[in-house]
Amino acid sequence: MRSLSAWWSKRREAREQELDRELQSHLEVEAEEQRDAGAPEGESRYRALRAMGNTTLVKEDVHAAWGGRWLEQAWQDLRYGFRGLRRNPGFTMVAALSLALGIGGNTAVFTLVNAFLLQRLPYSEPDQLVEVTGSYPKGAIVALQQVSRSMDIAAYTPDSEFNLKAQGEAQRMPGSAVSANLFSVLGVGAELGRALRTGDDQPGQDGVVVLSDALWR
C-alpha cells in the first residue's frame, strides 16, 4: 500500500512539475507580447500574470481534468478514518465487536435458512412433497391409498426401534416400518441392491430391510 501511494504521489509530482512548466512558458510568451505591445519592462510580467488570472485556480481545474481525484480523496479519507480509530481504542473495540456479532449472527441465521428454506430436498420432486403430521392406523393408510386419486400416499412409523442380531448380542436399533411405495414416492433408490417395491408390504412377503449407509458400514 505504501509503495502504491508513493508511486502515485511521484507520478502526481511529475505531472505537477510539467503543468508548472507549461503555465510558466505561457506566462513568458505573454510577457514578451506585452513588452512588444509597449508595456514598460517591470510591468510586462505583472500584466501577463493578470491576464492568466488565478494561477492556483487554473491548476486546481487542471487537476480536476486529470481525473483520479476521487481516488486521492478516498485514500485521504481512509487514512483519516484509521487515525481516528487508533486514537479511540475503546470506540474501535465496541464498533468492531458489534460488527463481529452482527456478521456472526447473520451467518448463523443464514446457514439455517439456507438448509431449511433455500436448499431443495434431495428427492426427485421436492416441491410436490407434503408431509402430513399426525398418526394414522395402518388400515387407514391402505384405505387412503386406494381412495386417493390426486396423490400417492406413503407412510412410515416414527421413532420405532428394532432388534438387530448379527454376530453376538442383539442390539436395539432405531428404524422405521414403511409402506412399500415410500422409495418410489420420494423418487430415491438404493445405492446397493434394491429399494422396496410394490408387494414388499404384503403379509408373508414383508421380510425386506433397507439398511442406512451408516449402519451398513
Binding site: 510539467e18 503543468l19 512548466r21 507549461e22 503555465l23 512558458s25 505561457h26 513568458e28 510568451v29 505573454e30 491576464a51 492568466m52 488570472g53 488565478n54 485556480l57 487554473v58 481545474d61 487542471v62 480536476a64 481534468a65 486529470w66 481525473g67
Partner: protein, 117 residues
C-alpha cells in the same frame, strides 16, 4: 486592434472544446498559440480565459482527442508543450461541428426576420 470590453464575448459553454479542436486542425500548437488564434480569428470578439483553456486541453488529452509533446520551435530557445489532433479528435470535431451548426441554424430560424401581417 483590441476591442472594448463590452464587445468581447464570453465563450458559450461547451464550444471551447470545439474551437480548440478546430484550431489544432491547422497543425500542432501550444496553449498560448491556441488562445491567440481563437482571439485573432474571431476579430477579438472571443476571449479565451486561461482558466478554462488549460483544463480543457488536459481534459481533451485525457479523452484521447489530442496528444502533447514538448518541442522547441525554430525561432525560440525554449520548449513548449505542443498539442496535436488525433484521429479520434478529428472525428469528435466533425460531430461537434454538426451539432453546433444544428444549434446555430435553429437559433437563426427563431431569430429570423419578423414578417408583419
Amino acid at each position: 486592434m483590441t476591442k472594448d470590453a463590452s464587445e468581447r464575448r464570453e465563450l458559450l459553454q461547451g464550444t471551447l472544446d470545439m474551437l480548440i479542436l478546430r484550431t489544432l486542425l491547422l497543425g500542432a500548437a501550444h496553449g498560448h498559440e491556441i488562445a491567440k488564434h481563437i482571439q485573432r480569428t474571431s476579430d477579438d470578439v472571443l476571449q479565451v480565459e486561461h482558466g478554462s483553456l488549460y483544463p480543457a486541453l488536459h481534459r481533451l488529452e485525457r479523452k484521447g482527442w489530442v496528444v502533447s509533446k514538448w518541442e522547441t520551435p525554430n525561432d525560440r530557445k525554449r520548449e513548449f508543450k505542443y498539442y496535436r489532433l488525433t484521429a479520434a479528435g478529428k472525428k469528435q470535431l466533425i460531430a461537434e461541428e454538426s451539432k453546433w451548426k444544428q444549434l446555430a441554424g435553429a437559433i437563426a430560424r427563431v431569430m429570423g426576420p419578423v414578417t408583419e401581417g
